[in-house]
């Protein structure tokens, strides 16, 4: 019997609920998939073998579990340092730093635009003094560190290596990742200083610097997470992320680097949303498509330059403020999709994150969720356990095909930088976000506790609050740094940064010197503003 025979003769006879059977991204799916739906290549894929659909390593979690990496950052550097130590005490090996809005946008804590924002969404960092305190008592060669920062990433990386120098840790021993994905900022997260072209130049400076001096560091984490949070579909997340990655590779190759030299140090960051099979298929398709594109377009020959290694985080936008305990279940399902999708590291959201920064107790449940998946559920025993599932293979093929069509359209527009200038990905995402909200409002998509199964609300859980004194203290701290440093040395160092920005020489060496001379995030960002110009939101609706 063929699939069509079965559908026409048997399936039609049985009742079907009067709903659209579609994913959270509004992709309609068949009631069943069969061998005929699976492409020929998918039947001969192996973990650790090109195109890595089934996983980048042969033994996957039998060899090594994913890194449990909880994102943390709030208040002052001392507050976050304490949270880091708490997480390490709970068995976490990798650190992941969230910075506050002023740090992310290149303003010091004493700037008028920083008012009300200092230490609220992450840790406040204005100068090397803060980064030193952030990693106090943590030897940088003993951990891997992820830093979620983009338009000021060059400054933060300079500060990190400066702290390594102070600790006597050689740069070659520094392992970690800096997000540094500016293109997705223009598309989705929207923290920027200067326009796309100079932003990409700074990213490439960092790729070049890391390729030569920080062999264990990931210079860019090409991020779909924020694209999805901004409201994209799964296919858009996949396509725009890989298109951003292609743009960086292209720019680095034009700089004269070989893809095999820096490709192994590119990493990725995907979202894990509610739709279980769609998410697993997305991760599998991402690996297959990236490996193929790196070989086709750039002639990559080093397997590591073709392997898509990824961090993933459960979807913040899927959590509900209503009945927040339900979020524990959502996070567990999303995290399971990530594990079955073969991620290399994982952040699980805390149940109270729609209300405020997570409390210590909520973070603990999130970490335990990962430990239960890793050590109790048994899913780590088999590599790519869903490989060969007709449905998962067919969805993998479909996401790959649809993402490739988007990428080819972006090529026609002249590449991702051009597409961003035209507002193309931004508008696609805004459309998808609006469609989804309408579906929720009309109850065509269910959000438990929000548009169905509502209850009179219980009291909100105890929230982590950041006192306003943090702002006063932090502003005073950066003023003190500026007052007490050697002013001449700081000015000279800042001038060197400006010269490099203007001449096109790599910014990183003068930045390292500048942060050691205690030049601040705001001062260096001002140089970028003056030399490269400020980007403003085009405010497309």
């Amino acid at each position: 019997m063929t699939k069509r025979d079965w559908l026409e003769r048997r399936y039609r006879e049985t009742p079907e609920r009067p709903v659209r059977f579609s994913t959270v991204s509004d992709m309609e799916v068949d009631p069943i998939y069969s061998a005929a739906d699976v492409s020929a290549p998918a039947r001969d894929e192996w973990p650790g073998e090109f195109p890595y659909t089934r996983g980048v390593y042969p033994s996957m979690y039998r060899g090594r579990l994913w890194t449990m990496r909880q994102f943390a950052g709030f208040g002052t550097a001392e507050d976050t340092n304490a949270r880091f130590k708490f997480l390490m005490g709970q068995g976490q090996k990798g650190l992941s730093t969230a910075f506050d809005m002023p740090t992310l946008m290149g303003y010091d804590a004493d700037h008028p635009r920083a008012r009300g924002e200092v230490g609220r969404e992450g840790v406040a960092v204005s100068s090397l003094v803060d980064v030193r305190a952030l990693f106090d008592g943590i030897r940088l060669s003993d951990v891997t560190t992820s830093m979620t920062v983009n338009c000021t990433a060059s400054v933060l990386l300079a500060m990190y290596v400066a702290v390594a120098d102070e600790q006597g840790v050689p740069w070659t021993e520094l392992g970690g990742t800096i997000q540094n994905d500016m293109l997705k900022e223009f598309i989705a997260q929207k923290e920027w200083i200067c326009p796309p072209e100079p932003s990409v130049r700074i990213v490439v400076d960092m790729i070049e610097f890391c390729a030569k001096q920080l062999p264990r560091w990931h210079a860019v984490s090409v991020s779909g997470y924020h694209i999805r949070e901004a409201g994209s579909t799964a296919v858009q997340e996949l396509a725009f992320t890989l298109a951003d990655g292609l743009a960086y590779v292209d720019a680095a190759v034009k700089r004269g680097l070989h893809v095999d030299q820096f490709g192994p140090r590119l990493s990725f960051f995907f979202n894990l949303h509610n739709d279980f099979f769609e998410e697993i298929a997305k991760l599998r398709a991402a690996r297959r498509l990236w490996a193929t594109l790196m070989r086709e377009r750039f002639g990559a020959t080093d397997p590591r330059a073709m392997m898509l290694r990824t961090h993933a985080q459960t979807a913040g936008c899927s959590l509900t403020a209503q009945q927040p305990v339900n979020n524990v279940v959502r996070v567990a399902i999303q995290a399971l999709a990530g594990v079955l999708g073969g991620v290399q590291s994982l952040h699980t959201n805390s149940l109270d994150e729609t209300l405020a920064l997570p409390s210590e107790q909520a973070v603990m449940v999130a970490v335990r969720t990962q430990q239960i998946l890793a050590e109790e559920s048994g899913v780590t025993n088999i590599v790519d356990p869903l490989g060969g599932s007709y449905a998962v293979e067919a969805l993998t093929d479909r996401l790959e095909r649809e993402a490739r069509a988007y990428i080819e359209h972006i090529d026609e527009l002249g590449g991702m930088v051009k597409a961003i200038e035209l507002g193309y990905p931004q508008k696609e995402i805004a459309d998808a976000a609006y469609v989804y909200q309408q579906q929720v409002d009309k109850q065509e998509k269910t959000v438990v506790g929000v548009n169905r199964y509502q209850m009179p609300e219980e009291r909100q859980p105890d929230l982590l609050r950041i006192p306003l004194e943090v702002e006063t203290r932090q502003a005073e701290r950066v003023r003190k740094v500026k007052r007490e440093r050697n002013g001449t040395a700081a000015r000279d160092a800042l001038r060197r940064v400006r010269e490099a920005a203007e001449s096109g020489e790599n910014l990183m060496p003068p930045l390292v010197a500048a942060v050691k001379a205690l030049c601040t995030v705001g001062e260096i960002s001002d140089v970028y503003r003056q030399v490269f110009g400020e980007y403003r939101d085009p405010a497309w609706l």
Partner: protein, 137 residues
């Protein structure tokens, strides 16, 4: 009284430094689809910029969207800037990540309504329709 009142003119604004504009854009579109005239400021506005835009565009109400936790500083700052410019009578509503326990303080500061995660766009449209009237110049 006009038989065909002009459509309500609403300013949707993003004060502060956070880049989360998904909600602001969805609301802006929903209000527009409901027949209102919508002006969207774009991201990263200072309280001064928001108040200035509201006065210049002669809007009937202002919707502020904020997801960075800075609402207790920035919402009152917008209201103060409005008063300074003679726009203290323009109703201001807000949305975003606003814990319940912060509502009383914002209400005292003069924020007319707050819509937090889970609010439907229809709820916001209905509130505007029943509460906001075109301002008489």
């Amino acid at each position: 009284m006009a038989l065909n009142p002009r459509p309500l003119r609403i300013l949707i604004a993003k004060p502060g430094l956070d880049g989360h504009d998904r909600g602001a854009k969805v609301i802006a579109r929903a209000l527009r689809d409901a027949g209102m005239e919508v002006i969207y400021t774009g991201l990263h506005q200072t309280p001064e910029m928001v108040a200035e835009a509201a006065i210049q565009e002669d809007v009937d109400a202002i919707g502020l969207s904020l997801l960075s936790g800075a609402h207790l500083t920035l919402f009152p700052a917008v209201l103060a800037e409005l008063r300074q410019r003679g726009g203290g009578d323009i109703p201001v509503f807000g949305g975003g990540i606003i814990p319940d326990e912060d509502r009383p303080e914002l209400e005292r500061a003069g924020v007319a309504a707050m819509f937090t995660p889970g609010a439907s766009t229809q709820e916001i449209v209905d509130w505007i329709r029943t509460t906001i009237r075109p301002r008489v110049a």
